[in-house]
Symmetry: C2
């Protein structure tokens, strides 16, 4: 197993990346923008790198982790809501009826999200999300979701930070669902997490100042919403962007069309054996336009199968132990 110092050294050197076009493109970009006096030099303040989360930093199959959370919350709250057993989309959740759930569409999904994510204080929600993430297990691997992260991407985050980059998450997922654990898992503190959000309202309830979560969308941080979220929260145009689906298209476009050296990469899920294989027709993490357009724009299509030696930290650790 890894000793911490060795682990950090491996992280910083992209140890789980195979030598190949993706790794080469990354290291050449970083060397170029950090070379003082060079034509592509970028000052540390402007070394902003943005990362999508679902499917880019952690697994999103068989469903988004936050959706698994919402479904579990419906079940946990169902005894306070006897009406749910006759009312869609809640009935579908309680009966594990995936088809009926799918039929409820985006409107149904929004109802589930609001019923499980709004109506409590930010502090209460943080506790609910933290308790869940600590105890829930991935249906296929039985691992905590926070172990279903990609070791090569953890190394990339470390490598970029070691080279003076500031790393941000820019996810379609809920900002307050991610913040409780991103610092521990990714080394990304809450203020560097951008995500979809609902509105909150400050009020003093029974003498206690409280931020209440309202059932009202604030920002959908996906597609054309990602550059908006970046501008609102970060206030710089990034120089590097990492995603995995067409939901990241505008984020990569906004990033890579700025002046000077720029970098865009899409993680391609092409490894059915070690992870999942899906792209153009997937319900979660659909990657279609990006596969066609990305290469024309100089974006790297990163093959999980060929560019990564191992995927999940536990698998990488096992591989190291086996040597």
């Amino acid at each position: 197993c890894f000793a911490p110092a060795q682990l950090h050294a491996d992280m910083a050197t992209l140890a789980s990346w195979n030598d190949g076009p993706a790794k080469t493109a990354i290291t050449e970009f970083v060397e170029k923008v950090t070379k003082e006096g060079g034509p592509d030099y970028v000052a540390p303040d402007e070394r902003i790198a943005v990362f999508d989360n679902d499917g880019t930093l952690w697994a999103e199959q068989p469903m988004y982790v936050q959706l698994a959370f919402a479904l579990d919350r419906v079940k946990a709250l169902s005894n306070q809501h006897p009406e749910w057993k006759d009312k869609q989309p809640f009935k579908a959740v309680l009966e594990n009826d995936i088809q009926a759930l799918a039929n409820s569409g985006e409107k149904g999904l929004m109802e589930l999200l609001m019923a499980t994510h709004a109506g409590m204080s930010t502090e209460d929600f943080e506790k609910i999300a933290t308790d869940w993430i600590e105890t829930a297990r991935h249906p296929k691997t039985g691992k905590p979701y926070t172990e279903m992260v990609y070791q090569p991407m953890l190394e990339l985050l470390t490598y970029l930070r070691d080279n003076g980059f500031k790393t941000f998450i820019v996810s379609g997922g809920g900002i307050e669902f991610m913040r409780p654990w991103t610092e521990g898992i990714y080394g990304i503190p809450p203020e560097q997490v951008v995500g979809s959000s609902i509105k909150t309202k400050y009020e003093v309830k029974d003498g206690k100042p409280t931020l209440m979560r309202l059932p009202e969308i604030d920002l959908v941080d996906d597609k054309a919403g990602k550059p908006v979220g970046i501008n609102s929260h970060i206030g710089h145009r990034p120089i590097a962007a990492f995603g995995n689906s067409d939901g990241d298209f505008q984020m990569l476009e906004w990033t890579t069309t700025g002046n000077g050296a720029r970098f865009g990469l899409l993680v391609h899920h092409d490894d059915a054996e070690r992870e999942w294989a899906y792209d153009r027709k997937s319900h979660f993490g659909k990657l279609d336009k990006g596969l066609d357009e990305g290469p024309k724009r100089g974006w790297i299509i990163n093959s999980m199968k060929s560019d990564w030696k191992c995927i999940f930290p536990y698998a990488c650790e096992q591989a190291a132990a086996d040597k």
Copy 2:
């Protein structure tokens, strides 16, 4: 005059603060939360300090700087808008008719803001704001506005950062009006600036990705909006908050009612000779409830007159040179 190393040492030691209750309260708080193993220790990640801007970090008299910017912009744009010379509140601005401008109320102010702050790309607005802040001069002192900042507060920002704090601006002013210069003047990078904002829309115009500024309010980061902005952008509850008006009341309340050691301070403008004296009845930076309630809640009322040796950097420098 100051040598840079000496300046930094002075900054870090609160050199422009008189010994007295405010300075003592600050240093005791910082020593307490940074003392490892002590009962009030706070880990660096949670050492979040938030600062109001207008009247807390820089002067807000005879009017908010951003209002001066908006008025100048109306004048600069007036030849593209011949209709403005007959239309309030623009007519009032063009004729320097302060009374008519005041009569136009909040609705008039909002019209001015939207006419001068929306309808261009974020990049164009950044250039407009930057050009203005570099050339505009304060009507009383003739100094650039960025020299009308408070030396003791610059020292406080440095002192807190030297003690592992992350410093954020949380201002009722426009987030994109501040971001171009806060890093150079306060050492606070764009991603640590929270402020009022309008909505933006991402679009590809003539092949060029652009964020357009829309004439629609996103967040009013004032009063009960400040805890909302803090939660959205920072994602932690701060442990120290610095303001100067009743617009900061909820920010100080939210900050100081959390668990553990907390700190709140209100800058009281009581120095008519070296700055301005105003509080309960001021149009800009009204401080009324905070003066009464603050002390009961343990907040420090910081007297500019007695707690600060000098106020503006040029005055502090002059005082040092005179010695």
